[in-house]
């Protein structure tokens, strides 16, 4: 017994041990099973919100030259030659452009592919018709994708359904990566053996891992390679196969796979890869194009077709060969595919966005209505107001000017920075936002976050406050620009001085603004009441609190370019404030409308005083501190604006508007050092260059009821007539024009003499 008991006990122990092992293993498998199911089913790919520019709307009368339309088409990835059976190309034919527009789902519904014939002349569109020549009223191109709001790992993807993926792509993938995909149980011993063999013989094609294993690895596991890992991976692959169909696994694989890198943006899934490399939807990929994507599976960096085209082409051809061998391609398909080049979309390195400052603004405005988490995962489609044409002009103007200033060291040491905001003055849509001279740099957004002294840019608030009281102040009212001291309790006496260190005596109100005289402006502001001027600034759209001191009148307040753009928008649209906004519409990823951001208007001021202020700001450009704008814009444009320069010339500003756009430019050093900056010589050129590139509309404000034109003698501020030398015709609120006649008028005109007598003798 005892002799037999020993082996018996050992066997029993062994049996127990095995049982425990089996139990442990099953528990582990059960755990894995639960994890696989939970994560696979609960798995929803985080889809970043996608941000689009405004779509270019083509119509007769559009003032956009052909070169700019061509630039937009190229940025959209349109090819410059007919591609039969495809959309997304154009043909130039003299002044006519034939465009095959891609289909696109807009916020107001899907728009099918269509062919356009656009005729240009005179710097704009003169004809628009369909392919048959029938005239069209309006047609829009699809909008440029300008960025997204990404998950923290910056993974970007475009989800596709298996049915949308070309059969050839699937055939090629299976031929190269996992030949027995449809028959194995998640792992493939023969494939493994073959991989080992081909590795030994140096013909390594397959990796040995099945698609299921690759998916498990990407999905659940960290990249470390240990035996335990390998076993877990195997078990999970088998479990995945037990629960899900081959098609479900394949679809997930196609959406998960990492296929490239665009700066900081990771390209995942074949849907996005098709767009990124070829600029087309997955359905339209040719066998050669899909073969390139399959080639990238093995190593998107190593086979990067942009950086290593030869390597990529060899690998692609290998994929094609394997696919033909496996009968995934016919001989004919193979021959055609092999003969084509890589066919890459001219690369538009974008990273998470080419316009980080603008995307930042969109993001902030979205956060008023959406959760951060939803923005990063729900695949929302955001239709923004960015106009790539305006943005491009502003970026180029800022970078070119600052480069030149740095070279000349005109204003101080190199390293100048700047910011630009441009908006549609009537609709309040932000068309461009530049956050620094390197517009691609995703850092400090000066357009929104730089808080800088605004200097004279606040002066229009003083003058508007005055012009709202037509019985006291008109454009011709003489202001006092003689030495002035302001005393307030508990504060040092304040003695403002003019930029030219001189005093100018009696000056007309419009001249004081045109020449930006500090002393006259400060005296006027204190006469009106500092609190009243500050209230006007707030009504114009300045949201930040302004210090209740006299020095605020001359701009001793820190504001961002964006906030000043809001202020000047209100002036530019005749007193109707439209909140500056960067978003038009938001839809779900499949195009269902979620939210509109409607045009909202508020009449903040009566039309007459704003009309007068605009006339005065046009004088600033005509013969005031912004005279040099004539180097960029012809006088017919009638642009209005204001220069700004701060203490020790640390900041240079220009804010102004044409008939269609309002813009603000700031230039200065980030460390706020004293420099030799002047609004007129450093910020104004950037503004002028930007606007000049954009066919500006002339600024013609409609004269509101209650405005009359009167001739004035600028010397005396009294009524003149056309015969007076140097007389100017100025707008006045009804009844506010001076009654007294200037000497020149009273002598030169009989009527004038009579009325002068009338007044003197009370007749």
């Amino acid at each position: 017994m005892a002799r037999r008991a020993k082996p018996g006990r050992a066997r029993r122990l062994l049996r127990l041990g095995l049982l425990a092992l089996a139990l442990g293993a099953s528990a582990y498998v059960l755990y894995l099973d639960q994890r696989v199911r939970h994560e696979f089913e609960g798995r929803r790919f985080a889809l970043p919100a996608k941000i689009y520019a405004r779509p270019l709307e083509l119509h007769v009368g559009l003032r956009v030259p052909e070169t700019d339309v061509l630039r937009e088409l190229r940025e959209l990835g349109y090819r410059p030659a007919v591609r039969a059976g495809e959309s997304g190309w154009y043909v130039e034919n003299g002044d006519t452009l034939e465009i095959s527009v891609r289909p696109f789902i807009f916020w107001d519904g899907p728009q099918p592919a269509k062919q356009l014939r656009v005729t240009f002349g005179d710097g704009g569109v003169t004809g628009l018709a369909d392919a048959q020549g029938a005239p069209l009223a309006l047609a829009r191109l699809e909008p440029l994708l300008i960025g997204g709001i990404y998950p923290t790992n910056n993974e970007d993807r475009v989800l596709v359904r298996l049915a949308e993926v070309p059969k050839t792509l699937i055939g090629e993938l299976i031929a190269v990566e996992d030949r027995r995909f449809y028959t194995h149980w998640g792992f493939d011993p023969r494939g493994l053996a073959r991989a080992a063999y081909s590795m030994a013989t140096g013909h390594r094609i397959e990796g040995g891992s099945t698609l299921t294993q690759q998916l498990v690895k990407n999905f659940f596991l960290s990249p470390e390679r240990t035996l335990g890992r390998k076993l877990t991976e195997l078990a999970m692959a088998v479990l995945l196969e037990l629960h899900y169909s081959k098609n479900e696994i394949l679809e997930t694989y196609l959406n998960e796979i990492y296929l490239g890198q665009d700066r900081d943006r990771a390209i995942h899934g074949v849907g996005l890869a098709a767009q990124f490399y070829f600029g087309k939807p997955i359905e339209d990929l040719t066998p050669a194009e899909s073969a390139l994507l399959v080639a990238l599976v093995k190593g998107p960096g190593y086979y990067d077709p942009f950086r290593h085209p030869k390597r990529a082409l060899e690998r692609r051809n290998l994929v094609l060969r394997e696919a033909r061998e496996q009968h995934a391609l016919t001989d004919e398909q193979y021959q055609v595919a092999r003969a084509t080049d890589l066919g890459l979309n001219p690369q538009r390195a974008m990273g998470t966005s080419p316009y980080p400052a603008f995307v930042d603004l969109v993001h902030r405005q979205l956060l008023r209505d959406y959760d951060e988490a939803d923005l990063r995962s729900e695949g929302l489609r955001i239709f923004s107001t960015l106009d790539p044409r305006v943005q491009g002009a502003a970026e180029r103007a800022l970078a070119d000017r600052l480069d030149a200033f740095d070279r000349e060291r005109r204003f101080g040491a190199p390293g100048l920075e700047g910011a630009v905001v441009v908006a549609d003055s009537q609709t309040g849509e932000v068309q461009a936002l530049v956050g620094g001279r390197d517009a691609r740099y995703q850092g400090f957004n000066r357009a929104l976050d730089a808080a800088r002294q605004v200097g004279s840019l606040l002066k229009p608030a003083i003058y508007l406050t005055a012009l709202e009281q037509p019985s006291r102040y008109t454009l011709a009212t003489l202001l006092d620009d003689s030495p002035f001291t302001w005393k307030a309790r508990g504060a040092e006496p304040w003695r403002p001085v003019n930029y030219d260190r001189r005093f100018h005596g009696a000056v007309a109100l419009r001249t004081a603004l045109a020449n930006s005289y500090n002393v006259a402006s400060a005296r006027l502001g204190t006469e009106l009441g500092i609190d009243k001027v500050i209230a006007t600034a707030h009504k114009l759209g300045i949201e930040h609190e302004l210090p209740p001191y006299a020095s605020t009148l001359l701009g001793a307040a820190d504001l961002s370019p964006f906030e000043l753009a809001q202020m000047y928008q209100t002036i530019a649209s005749g007193g109707f404030r439209v909140p500056l906004h960067a978003i038009r519409d938001v839809t779900t990823q499949d195009g269902r409308p979620l939210k509109r951001y409607p045009l909202a208007v508020e009449q903040a001021f009566q039309a007459a005083p704003v009309y007068l202020l605009v006339a005065a700001l046009q004088d600033v450009v005509r013969d005031g501190t912004a005279k040099s704008l004539a180097d960029w814009l012809p006088p017919e444009i009638g642009a209005a604006g204001k220069t700004g320069t701060t203490n020790d010339q640390r900041d240079a500003w220009f804010a102004g508007f044409t008939g269609d756009r309002v813009g603000v430019v700031w230039v200065g050093y980030d460390d706020n050092r004293a420099a030799r900056l002047l609004g007129a010589s450093s910020a104004l050129p950037v503004w002028g260059e930007t606007m000049a590139a954009l066919e500006p509309q002339p600024l013609v404000l409609p004269a509101p009821a209650g405005i009359e034109q009167t001739w004035i003698d600028p010397q005396t501020g009294l009524r003149a007539d056309a015969t007076c030398a140097g007389a100017v015709e100025l707008p006045f609120a009804d009844g506010s024009a001076p009654q007294a006649r200037a000497p020149c008028a009273s002598v030169a005109s009989g009527a004038g003499v009579k009325s002068w007598f009338e007044r003197i003798f009370g007749l």
Binding site: G61, T427, G574, F576, V601
Partner: protein, 137 residues
């Protein structure tokens, strides 16, 4: 109080009447794109598809922001949507581009009157109607 208001309104109207007419701002010829958008906005608004009407009108305004008819039509849509404050502001915006078009001004003032009445501002509505009368003559 009401009588006083009426007198004031009448006075204001009288003052406005002697004011010289302003020339109409130069309107470019009606753009085909704008016309087609206005047309579809009309159809949408009549069918109660207000969001579509609104979108079309905003699209048209981006092309031709100086067109007082567009601002007016958008004001009408806002009125239908029950956004009375915006309806009034947009009608005022339309007036600012109306130039010498007194018929349009009268329509805008009637629209403003309706918006004010809907908001419970009867006195304001009355005043707006007076203005409409004045321009409608």
């Amino acid at each position: 109080m009401r009588i006083l208001l009426l007198v004031l309104v009448a006075l204001a109207a009288g003052c406005a009447a002697v004011a010289p007419e302003q020339p109409a701002p130069q309107q470019p010829p009606e753009n085909a794109a704008v016309a087609s958008l206005m047309h579809s906005a009309h159809a949408d608004a009549d069918a109660g598809r207000l969001a579509s009407a609104e979108a079309s009108l905003e699209r048209a305004l981006r092309i031709d922001p100086r067109n007082p008819r567009l601002w007016q039509q958008l004001a009408g849509v806002r009125l239908q949507q029950g956004d009375y404050a915006q309806a009034e502001s947009l009608a005022a915006r339309s007036n600012s581009w109306a130039g010498a078009d007194d018929v349009l001004r009268a329509e805008n003032w009637r629209l403003i009157a309706e918006a004010r009445r809907a908001r419970g501002d009867d006195a304001g509505a009355h005043e707006a109607l007076e203005r409409a009368e004045h321009y409608g003559r």
